[in-house]
């Protein structure tokens, strides 16, 4: 009778922790030993071979030491009181109880996604592995990518319900200790119930959350994350999110892709320059149209002006209104395309291309040339590798269009100056965010030039390229791979 009582009371106690509304398995091994687990959370095969069969061969009243020595399992934990075991059982551990004390053994087989190739930051030549939702797997990927003892990771728990794990990773010999401490403090200061995505976490720990520009980078690419670690940057991983946070980042980092490195310095530099052109086009094209057609038609040569006026002759709206309509339409198309299931996605192309594009011109809503410009500007903004940054740039375009409609070219320059100075004023983890010229030494912004490479402005690209070439020619002689 005693053995029955023990298993039943154990079931009662653990089940009570879950308000009796949970599916638990409690099995009695002997009168004084019982195990408890959640059936879908454990690896059944391992449960049989590593726990059940050794336990069944033990005597009637084994001690904790006997249990411990008989289980061929690496991770075993002592449990002092029964409530402690509840979170472990959920995580796939097996609770092995005797009347005196208990231990928990890890045989977890939790559902997780297998490794896939990057979906959002695709490259043609790069490695085809992306981070997944499992923080353990992500840390493993990074660690195997940099098998160096200098790679540190610190663990933090966040949120009182979900108890999300956060990993802070950096290279001890490369990252600036002050900056690591800064991130540590920011993570510790967070008081929140729930954090689900790294993007959410990123907004909480970045320097100025009032800014529309992201100051930290999100990436799903392992090569980018590990490269950033070697550059001396700090990586923050969040359990349940396939994106890791990379910081400190500079404005220009958001326009560089790992692909540029794989393409070789010639094509890589060309593509980077192309992206800068895309940036300028996407920000200035439609405002310039508005300003030129509202105020400064002098700047358009007469032959070009004729065709412009011709295409606009049927449009009853002022250029500002016309442009805003089309820009908002473009944004709607993008948003609808992003939310639609892929199967219905084709409809978007038809709606966008034919109905809105062709019909809007024929109906006299917009001019042909504006449709072309808006499309070009949209293309330019999509050429930005970072999704958050390209969204920010699209957002900046609206004030620019509006001010171009009010003050003409003065308005464009007003917004340009404001945005430029805003970018210069920002910092990313205390480091200057936008610095066309190498930043000044400020004691609070000090960083080691040797460890963090030069800012990668368009002008600095040449410098970077030289370093890159040197690293190919010398180091690849014995390492066979390119690293800086």
């Amino acid at each position: 009778m005693a053995d029955f009582d023990f298993a039943a009371s154990l079931q009662e106690q653990i089940s009570a922790l879950f308000h009796h509304r949970v599916h638990l398995v409690v099995r009695s091994i002997s009168p004084s030993v019982a195990i408890c687990y959640m059936p879908q959370h454990v690896d059944t095969k391992q449960l049989h071979t590593s726990i059940l069969s050794p336990l069944l061969q033990l005597g009637q009243t084994p001690t904790i030491e006997d249990l411990r020595s008989s289980l061929p399992i690496g991770e075993i934990m002592d449990i002092a009181a029964i409530p402690e075991c509840a979170p472990l059982i959920v995580k796939g551990w097996v609770y092995i109880a005797t009347p005196q004390a208990g231990i928990a053994a890890n045989v977890a087989d939790l559902p997780k996604r297998s490794l896939t190739s990057p979906e959002n930051e695709t490259t043609i030549l790069g490695p085809m592995v992306a981070f997944t939702e499992s923080i353990g797997m992500n840390t493993t990927l990074l660690r195997t990518s940099i098998p160096d003892t200098e790679l540190c990771s610190e663990e933090y728990k966040m949120g009182n319900k979900r108890n999300t794990t956060i990993h802070l990773m950096f290279m001890a010999d490369r990252a600036n200790p002050d900056r690591v401490e800064l991130v540590r403090q920011r993570i510790k200061q967070l008081r929140l119930n729930d954090v689900t995505g790294s993007s959410e976490l990123m907004h909480m720990i970045q320097d100025n959350d009032l800014s529309v520009f992201p100051q930290l980078m999100l990436t799903e690419r392992i090569d980018l994350a590990s490269h950033s670690l070697i550059e001396g940057k700090i990586i923050i991983l969040l359990d349940g999110s396939p994106l890791v946070i990379v910081g400190p980042s500079e404005f220009i980092d958001f326009f560089l892709s790992m692909e540029d490195r794989y393409l070789g310095w010639g094509i890589g530099t060309f593509i980077r320059a192309l992206r800068m052109v895309a940036l300028i086009l996407s920000v200035f094209l439609t405002p310039a149209y508005v300003a030129a057609l509202t105020f400064h038609y002098e700047i358009i040569p007469s032959s070009l002006l004729v065709s412009l006026i011709e295409s606009r002759s049927k449009v009853p709206f002022p250029p500002l209104f016309e442009t805003i309509i089309l820009e908002v339409t473009m944004e709607l198309l993008r948003e609808a395309g992003a939310r639609l299931p892929t199967k219905v996605g084709q409809t978007m192309g038809i709606v966008g291309g034919i109905v809105i594009g062709q019909a809007a011109v024929q109906a006299g809503f917009t001019s042909n040339i504006l449709i072309m410009l808006v499309a070009l500007a949209a293309l330019g903004s999509f050429a930005t590798p970072d999704y958050l940054m390209s969204s920010s740039l699209r957002l900046v375009r609206y004030p620019m269009v509006i001010f171009a409609g009010i003050w003409g070219s003065i308005g464009i320059v007003f917004v340009t100056s404001l945005v430029t100075m805003h970018l210069i004023r920002q910092t990313s983890l205390g480091r200057p965010y936008f610095s066309p010229v190498h930043p000044i030494k400020e004691s609070d912004l000090a960083y080691d030039e040797v460890l963090l490479p030069e800012p990668k402005g368009l002008t600095a690209t040449g410098h970077r390229v030289r370093k890159y070439v040197r690293s190919i020619s010398l180091r690849s002689l014995w390492t066979g791979k390119i690293d800086e």
Partner: protein, 369 residues
């Protein structure tokens, strides 16, 4: 914040390259040709050259003076040399000079916009736009000033490339005969360069924030050299492009040069160049405001932010009270004389007094031993 009392904000000497020439190349570049030509005729380029050489000399004297004073700025030097009261009065004069200079730059730029692009744009609104940007940038400290002046440096270079275009329409013989005037005319012409070329007195303020002070001379001179070459180039292009009657009646010489440029998709470059010149004007007035703030902090210990807002309001009000081209011209003439005194004569005086001060100190020191 932009606190200059500590040595928190330090930068490398090569950044003087962007900072100094940015204050020099402000709005004077728009139409300095007429004034020089009026005095020196088609030998006006000699006046520009002369004023350039004088500038190099003065920069040399300035840096030498600063080297003797180690880590003091202009206000500190005045305090040491003239004592608390006279030094204080002189510092206030300097601050007034910077403030007037700011107003002149803002008002002249607005005048250019109103003459070329928007004749009906209200002056107060334009100065409000400029000053809002100035305040926003200055709140970020000298870091913002530095980075924006770097951007504007490239803007200046890009714009000066446009001046190659008019060369295809020039008459080189307009330069001849060389030296067709008197030395006195060339001299007066050089003095007329006053407002256009000054601004390098900011070295007095920037010096203490430079990290590697032994390289200051090199980069300060390089920056001034850049400005001099730019002015000389524009002056020569203007002399050979315009006829004599034309240049004397052209108020905005440099802008007129841009007017001729034509591309298949774009013409009237000045409609783009003048608004974008705001990015050159802004770091200049931000630096001047920063100079004034250093003074008010050292002399009166005023709250920097409030002083900055106060400065902006003063400049907006002052520039809005000037209604027409004549008043702007008068202001330019006045600041021209004022700046020649401040940037050319005053450094000489400081240099001499520093020597006297050092000598007396050494005498005292040897007495004590």
């Amino acid at each position: 914040m932009s606190s200059g009392t500590s040595h928190k904000y330090q930068f490398k000497a090569y950044m003087l390259l962007f900072l100094v020439c940015n204050v020099q190349v402000g709005v004077g570049i728009f139409g300095f040709q007429r004034y020089i030509y009026k005095e020196a005729g088609h030998d006006a380029w000699m006046s520009v050259l002369l004023s350039g050489i004088a500038t190099h000399l003065i920069v040399w004297i300035m840096v030498k003076t600063l080297e003797m004073h180690k880590s003091l700025d202009l206000y500190g030097i005045q305090h040491v040399l003239f004592g608390k009261w006279i030094g204080g009065v002189l510092s206030i004069c300097m601050m007034l000079y910077f403030l007037t200079n700011m107003t002149t730059i803002v008002r002249t730029y607005i005048e250019a916009i109103q003459s070329w692009i928007f004749p009906d744009f209200p002056t107060w609104l334009l100065s409000l736009i400029l000053l809002v940007l100035m305040v926003y940038g200055s709140l970020g400290g000298i870091r913002v000033i530095l980075q924006t002046s770097f951007i504007s440096f490239f803007l200046i270079i890009a714009t000066s490339l446009f001046f190659n275009y008019p060369i295809r329409y020039v008459e080189w013989s307009r330069l001849l005969p060389i030296y067709d005037t008197t030395a006195q005319h060339i001299w007066v012409g050089a003095i007329k360069m006053g407002f256009t070329i000054t601004g390098f007195e900011v070295i007095f303020m920037l010096y203490r924030h430079v990290q590697d002070k032994n390289k200051v001379m090199r980069y300060a001179q390089a920056s001034v050299l850049f400005t001099n070459i730019l002015y000389l180039f524009i002056m020569i292009v203007s002399i050979i492009y315009f006829s004599e009657n034309q240049i004397l009646r052209t108020i905005w010489g440099s802008i007129n040069l841009l007017k001729i440029i034509k591309y298949p998709f774009l013409e009237r470059i000045e409609f783009i160049a003048i608004p974008f010149w705001m990015l050159v004007v802004l770091p200049g007035i931000m630096q001047l405001a920063w100079n004034v703030l250093r003074g008010t902090v050292q002399l009166f210990g005023w709250n920097e932010k409030l002083t900055l807002y106060g400065l902006a309001v003063i400049v907006i009000v002052a520039s809005s009270t000037l209604h027409n081209r004549g008043q702007v011209n008068q202001l330019n003439d006045f600041i021209g004389i004022y700046s020649v005194i401040v940037s050319y004569c005053y450094p000489l005086l400081l240099f001499a007094l520093t020597y006297v001060y050092k000598w007396r100190k050494r005498e005292k020191g040897s007495d004590a031993h």
